[in-house]
Structures are given as C-alpha cells and as structure tokens.
Symmetry: C2
C-alpha cells in the first residue's frame, strides 16, 4: 500500500555514490535529464519531461526517465507533488530543508515556502489524537500572477 515517496526515510546516498568498486555510470541520458530539469522552472510530469527531451533531440526512453526521476526523488534532488488527477509532477529542488509549494494549477510554476509552523501544528494535533510516527502532505494551488492576468 504505502512505500513510495515516503518521508525521506533512508539516509542519503551522495550525488555520485560509489559502492565499493562499482560506481554509478555517467550516461548520456542521465546528463540530458539533469540538464532539462535544470531548465524547467515548473512542476512537470514524467511524460512531459520525456517529451521535452525528445523535442531537444535526445534519444531516451520513457522508462529511463521514470527510473531517474524516482532515484532523484529519493535523493531529494527533485521535489514531487501530485496534481489533482493523481499524476506525479517533478521539479528540481531548490532548498534543502523541508518546505512546501505554492503551485500554479495552470502552468505549474511554483514558489517554495517555509512551513515550520504548519509542521509543528500537524505534529501537535496528531499527537493529541494519540497518533504516532506522523507524516504529512501539504500543497497549495492557485493561479500565478501571469496566468491570473491572461485569464481575465
């Protein structure tokens, strides 16, 4: 049931891990994906990212895109959110600490916001109810200035 993007469960693996002898290989595809992620300012679906890679002339399979995004998400290199349709969206992570997003439901652009107060609140109410091992998800959606304007 649950075991996907958990709350940063395991301690990290460095960007370029090196597990005794065998190390992560630098492939053309991995580099291209990283490059595209660096360019995309908005949360995008794996399929959109794959399409963008193809648009740029990269030869890369959808499977590979999914695989890399999964790993990057575990690393904390990319943030993930679920849109209203349940689809997972990805974007390069800007800040390391825990944060939330205000995302444009039209274009996907988002800004990161601190959420310490909310976290404390969540932990508090959950604890009051007797729950333990608490985790939470919080996403804020709206229309960014640009999209709001062009929608008048």
């Amino acid at each position: 049931m649950d075991m996907m993007n958990d709350g940063h469960g395991a301690h990290s693996t460095a960007p370029q891990p090196e597990v005794r002898g065998t190390r992560v290989r630098g492939t053309r595809q991995a580099g291209a994906l990283t490059a595209v992620l660096a360019d995309l300012p908005a949360f995008s679906s794996a399929q959109d990212i794959h399409a963008e890679l193809r648009r740029r002339g990269e030869r890369i399979g959808l499977t590979t895109v999914y695989r890399h995004l999964q790993v990057l998400a575990e690393d904390g290199s990319v943030d993930t959110i679920r849109d209203a349709g349940g689809e997972t969206l990805y974007r390069r992570c800007e800040t390391v600490s825990h944060h939330h997003h205000v995302t444009c439901r039209s274009c996907g652009r988002s800004v990161e916001v601190e959420g310490r107060a909310v976290e404390r609140w969540a932990d508090k109410v959950a604890a009051e109810a007797g729950y333990v091992d608490i985790d939470h998800t919080l996403e804020i959606f709206g229309l960014c200035p640009d999209c709001a304007r062009s929608r008048t």
Copy 2:
C-alpha cells in the same frame, strides 16, 4: 471539479431529492452504498467498499460504486483523500465545515481536525507570492493508538 448543480435549488434538497419530474431515483444500490458508508469508520477504497457490499449480499457493480462515490464526493457527503499509492479513499463526512484528517496509514481510521490557522497561513503565503484563487490539500498520516500498539 466543476459544479453541475442544476440552477434550481428551489425546494427540498433532501436525502431523497426529487427535482422536478424525474431526477434522482431511489435504487436498491444507492441505498445499500449509503448504508455501508454509514457503517465504515475508516477511509476505504472504492474496491474495498464494493467488496464489503458484496460481502453483505448486495448485488452491485463496481462501476456503480465508483459513480456514486464520485457524486457523493462532489456533494460533499463523503470526504476523499489519496493514499501513498495514489489510490482514492472515501469516508462519510462528519462535519460540514472545512477540516483535515489525521489518518492511520495502517487501518485507515481517522479523526477530523479543525484547520483554520493553517488555512489562514496557506492563504497568506500564497497571496504574498502573488497567487490568487487559492486552494490547498493537507493530510496528516500516522499510526493510530491501536495499530501502533499491535506493531510492537
């Protein structure tokens, strides 16, 4: 997503609405589903709800369960959340006003909590970023007392 309320809230919008002539029909299936929802205290998937209906000897199709849950969710008669696997879970709504849930990730049982403070916070930070038409999703997961105990 979009409201599909007929623009005639004229008379009775009761459990058994009858808007002008022929509209919502009182079917065996609809009743059974409502009954099961009334009994289930935890967030359950459409498939689980369907299984429970069958267990009770009801003849009802999975499609119908999905359709009803969809409508009830729009009505606000049932609350919905997404579990970690992206599956939608349903539960009868207890309080009318806006609220959030502290849900057990093991058994699905949940308690409703007020969230005015969080809402204000969400609206504030979003507004500061220039976003409008703000909406948000917030779910808290943990282990309920019972599940925490039996997990020693």
